[in-house]
């Protein structure tokens, strides 16, 4: 084996190389989650347990006069469980990224001829895949326990789409915190904040039935529109307006979080490590 002289590849070749790297890192993210059970727990096990308990515990809520028309409380809760799992998956991705930085694995990526952003995008690609997985999981669980997806197959497709995109949008926040702090425990501290955002939305209860000030906040919370986008295919039919609102909210959150990630990355590269 003698050293070969590397010639500079053109822009198309570089793009292809970066995409391959993003794919490989995404696959690694997913594999990591399955190989370490305690990463799986918050993403699938806890949300499923909570779904079961909350549905049974607060199930009589459907008897309340202002409660929207649904086949059952489970049908209502399903979207909340999926979004909860997705947000936690995004947080887990951020933790894993911080661990990569802590153990120096990130250096392997930074010393290679790939775009710096591939470290973020690779991680988010994995989170999106996990998001899709959780969506499928909860759809199956829901159907198994008696829920009905009113909008059928197109509805399912929409749900998986919204959940995967949300995973990227919210995952960017975890990534930004990871890059800025370089510490896994800091990212882990975001865990309660995820629940605060969920409580201040219509994830677990209809927005019109929340107590103030949660009610008002929920009306403006982008997460509410995203949850609606996932919920309507189950309990009714996704209207074009809801579709646009959900997509727009995801885009808004995504733009902010990915922007913050990019800034945090640039700062880290500039200050060196």
């Amino acid at each position: 084996m003698s050293p070969r002289s590397a010639s500079e590849p053109g822009p198309a070749a570089r793009l292809l190389a970066n995409l391959r790297v993003i794919g490989a890192l995404g696959r690694r993210s997913v594999a990591q989650t399955f190989r370490r059970p305690q990463l799986m727990a918050p993403i699938l096990i806890f949300p499923t347990i909570l779904l079961a308990i909350q549905t049974a515990g607060a199930g009589r809520a459907v008897d309340l006069p202002q409660f929207p028309e649904v086949n059952g409380f489970l049908d209502f809760m399903l979207a909340g469980a999926m979004i909860q799992a997705t947000l936690l998956a995004g947080n887990s991705g951020g933790i894993a990224l911080a661990v990569d930085l802590e153990i120096g694995f990130a250096d392997r990526l930074f010393a290679a001829p790939v775009s710096r952003y591939s470290i973020i995008l690779g991680r988010l690609a994995g989170t999106a895949a996990l998001g899709a997985l959780t969506a499928v999981w909860f759809i199956v669980i829901g159907l198994a326990f008696g829920a009905t997806i009113e909008q059928g197959v197109p509805g399912v497709v929409m749900m998986i789409l919204f959940v995967s995109l949300s995973a990227i949008a919210f995952g960017g926040i975890g990534a930004a915190v990871a890059l800025r702090s370089g510490s896994a425990s800091v990212v882990q501290g975001l865990f309660p904040i995820v629940f605060v955002i969920l409580f201040l939305s219509n994830a677990f209860f209809p927005a019109n039935l929340l107590l103030e000030p949660a009610k008002t906040i929920a009306e403006y919370n982008p997460l509410t529109f995203i949850v609606d986008g996932v919920r309507e295919p189950v309990v009714g039919s996704l209207t074009p307006a809801s579709f646009a609102e959900a997509l727009g909210s995801i885009a808004l959150v995504g733009a902010i979080s990915l922007g913050l990630s990019a800034l945090a990355l640039r700062r880290r590269v500039r200050l060196g490590g």
């Binding site: 199930g59 309340l64 929340l210």
Partner: protein, 257 residues
């Protein structure tokens, strides 16, 4: 070993656990604030459940207080097990095992700190709760709550210590936390027994923790504190603590290879 030595051992272990918090105070904050955050969140989200027929309560906030108190104790106790698992992984626990301190004394030292620390999230929770208008339980009601919270902390610590000794790894942390969470939520957590649906009603009916929840709740909601309302919870908790302490002790004895 003399009683004086035992007490000194226990004191040393409790002090070490306290040092943990002081050394990295930032790490303790999520654990201390989380029960309050969930308390606020759940009461805002499910608050209107009290409108249901059969739910004769004027404040969901007051209804939830026992649950959040127990959750705080549950998390604190789980943290004891996580710390122990870390100590086992790093070899510090071997030092304790090799010392002449009797096993029950070691267990007491580990677990006692948890029961005391459970009062921290409890204090935060009660302060916030009362500020938001939760019903004042009276001194007796408060005393019962404090007692049962400390008991819950002890229970959670015994459980998580058992898990830690069994798996000897921090990756068992979710197991320690999840079981506590499920135990506390499969009670009359969200609503009275009659309003729970399906399987949950049956489970809550027989779950001993339901007695504990009801015992704490009588001060905050309803008629007031009575002996009849208190003793089932105390007995249930005492029995559980005894059972799990025995389990933890057995685990500790087995660990001495």
């Amino acid at each position: 070993m003399s009683p004086a030595a035992d007490i000194a051992t226990i004191r040393a272990l409790v002090r070490r656990a306290a040092n943990e918090i002081l050394r990295v105070p930032g790490a303790a904050i999520p654990g201390v604030l989380a029960p309050t955050i969930f308390f606020l969140g759940l009461s805002a989200v499910f608050g209107n459940l009290i409108e249901l027929r059969g739910f004769d309560v004027d404040s969901y906030l007051s209804w939830l207080i026992p649950i959040s108190l127990l959750q705080g104790a549950g998390f604190t106790g789980a943290a004891t097990g996580v710390n122990l698992a870390r100590d086992i992984e790093q070899g510090w626990f071997d030092r304790l095992l090799v010392s002449p301190a009797p096993r029950p004394v070691l267990l007491a030292g580990l677990v006692l700190s948890a029961s005391l620390r459970s009062l921290i999230p409890a204090a935060v929770l009660l302060t916030v709760g009362f500020a938001l208008g939760a019903h004042w339980p009276g001194l007796l009601g408060l005393a019962i709550a404090v007692l049962l919270v400390m008991g819950m902390g002890t229970l959670a610590a015994c459980w998580s210590v058992t898990v830690a000794l069994r798996f000897k790894s921090q990756s068992a942390a979710p197991l320690m936390q999840a079981v506590m969470l499920v135990a506390i939520l499969t009670t009359t957590a969200y609503a009275p027994l009659e309003l729970l649906t399906g399987w949950l009603q049956e489970v809550a009916r027989y779950n001993p923790i339901t007695q504990v929840v009801d015992a704490i709740r009588q001060g905050f909601v309803g008629e007031g504190v009575t002996l009849a309302g208190t003793w089932p919870g105390v007995v249930a908790l005492a029995a559980l603590v005894a059972a799990l302490a025995a389990l933890a002790l057995r685990g500790m004895r087995r660990t001495a290879y």
